[in-house]
Symmetry: C2
Subunit: 368 residues, 2 copies
């Protein structure tokens, strides 16, 4: 194997099963990455993540830059050592959080100046700064700084896209670590021509992988799926494709059908902290409900996760009502397992050449 | 083996190493029991408890009676099944929590009427009621209802002791499950004559094990150790002795020196939630302190727990500052491991015939 080569081992329609080689191990795609915003996937240990089958973990550049600081993480040996995740990792560019969490002071051609959501202090991200931070953090896959505008604002998207493209070039030039794969990000809101133009430009730069950004941020499902189709028709098939911040079981299936390989989303752990259990078929159970008080069944009788192999709905509801931390842990394990295993099931179906039939059944039975 | 027989395998001075046979496995004593107040040891899974070496877990009758209700726990197969702890369990009588958490409305010869700390509703515990609840919960070791008075109030202690003794007899009579060992509790505050009188009376009733209650509730260390000596001089050596709600590494060592076998305490998990790491030598580290921000060492370089085998002080401090739940989990694992392993080290020292020498070194190096 060569680092950062991507082998497609099977296809079924546009769906692909692949292997992406990284310095911390092979990623078998399609793959779903749990999100460890502050260098921890909330409420679960790395050992629990391994046990539920996770292979790739995402951490957030914006958060770690602010706290504890990327220089501190570097001093502690980088993110893998710091959070004790010895498998592949991915960091985002920080751009999305700057635009969604921080208070923007100024966006210009060179970068963005913002106030920390923690203490109001003023900071500036440029493409070069984002790459420097991500080199300190040391993930296997890192992202070019981009701007994620409101999806339906045409004028804003045109203007932002010019910046995103210039920043992609500067990110590539700034990047020095050969043990990291820098992915470029396609933007363009819900506008097919902008998406196509963006995919062509980003693909022309020679990144080892590509991301589709700016989706699942307010557009409809139909718009999202249409944009994925437009972009993937342009992006070179021999490189991995990462759909950022998505999502639900339905979204994962629809995106894999359209040629996406990599996913991340806070949904499983966020829902867990709000007492919701995700089901493989896309349904959700509010575990706080009275009807579960004396329900001896696991969340999902077909699920093989630690939570479902041991605990009843009655027990999980008790933990929620009693405000016990274990509730978030057990629900996080279950929800993450659901999406991680869904991605593995898709891979198996693709390899077996029955993905389209499998997806049709999943989506019919409510897979979303 | 016969259920609830206690074999002493070695002694060293008053210290004993034993085996207490229960329906859910053998307890090797001395043993420290993590506390799972609401049917969960806060922030850790049963798998993590097993991995850190725990063999006995305590749950609180008062809390579980109020929420989710002992009838519900019974319907779900009892505490072992409900919380998925397949090893020995212990429940207290609920008395201590009634006297410390609830608002007492009336104590009389027959029982105690109190208001729930959760919703103010009125409830009544009698010896018979406490036993009925504990039979529903289904722990291996259960406790007779007792009263835990302020330790220095002589008149109150005399009056309460009469109730505690009468309740011990009634608890014995009420108890029907043969797969549970009912322990009697010795009270008497800091008064040697009351303690002696109580130990004689409780021992005369033929319980399969005895507990020392009403200590670590405001008296001095010297008073506590003196009371343990007085009581253990009376209690029959062939039955296990349980010191309730204790405690620190120093307390465990001093109590084992005086013939105690079983301990429980909320200290390790409570300290963990307040960011304190317990050290084997009795010291504590406030992991929130600035000095740990860039400290690559584990909490304790000699510790073999999951936390110390993986994570740096810098990472744990980061989790605390970032208000991540994983901080409580990692510190709970470490603190529980510290006391569980301390009890095991004492057992090994007793079996090796070097307990007194070992204890002297431990206590000299600050073991408390």
């Amino acid at each position: 194997m060569t680092t950062f080569t991507f082998e497609i081992v099977a296809t079924d329609g546009h769906a692909r099963a692949g292997v992406f080689h990284t310095p911390h191990g092979d990623l078998l795609t399609p793959v779903f990455a749990p999100v460890g915003t502050q260098a921890t996937v909330k409420a679960v240990t790395p050992a629990q993540l391994e046990a539920l089958g996770a292979s790739l973990v995402l951490a957030n550049t914006y958060h770690l830059y602010l706290r504890p600081g990327d220089d501190l993480v570097a001093e502690m040996g980088g993110l893998h050592a710091f959070m004790q995740w010895p498998h592949p990792m991915l960091t985002d560019s920080g751009g999305f959080q700057v635009f969604s969490l921080a208070k923007i002071r100024e966006i210009d051609a060179d970068g963005v100046t913002f106030r920390s959501h923690l203490d109001g202090s003023v900071h500036r991200f440029t493409p070069e700064k984002s790459i420097a931070i991500q080199e300190n953090l040391g993930a296997d896959i890192i992202m070019a700084l981009d701007e994620c505008p409101p999806p339906h604002d045409r004028a804003y998207n045109e203007e932002a896209l010019a910046r995103t493209h210039a920043w992609a070039e500067r990110s590539l030039q700034a990047h020095t670590r050969r043990d990291q794969a820098l992915f470029g990000i396609v933007q363009g809101g819900v506008f097919p021509d902008l998406r196509e133009q963006s995919a062509e430009f980003i693909a022309s730069l020679g990144f080892p992988g590509h991301a589709i950004g700016g989706l699942s941020v307010g557009e409809t499902k139909e718009e999202m799926y249409a944009m994925i189709e437009v972009v993937n028709a342009v992006l070179p098939p021999e490189k991995p494709r990462y759909l950022m911040g998505v999502g639900t079981p339905q979204d994962l299936i629809e995106a894999v059908r359209r040629g996406v390989d990599i996913f991340d989303c806070v949904l499983p752990t966020r829902l867990a902290r709000h007492h919701a259990a995700m089901l493989q078929n896309g349904g959700r159970l509010n575990m706080r409900r009275n009807e579960f008080a004396r329900d001896p069944r696991p969340i999902d009788e077909t699920c093989t996760c630690y939570t479902c192999q041991h605990f009843s709905r009655a027990y999980i509801r008790h933990l929620i009502i009693a405000k016990e931390m274990l509730a978030a842990t057990l629900l996080s394990i279950h929800n993450l397992h659901t999406l991680v295993q869904l991605a593995k099931a898709m891979r198996q179906a693709i390899i077996a050449g029955r993905f389209e039939a499998w997806a049709a059944v999943q989506l019919q039975t409510g897979g979303g």
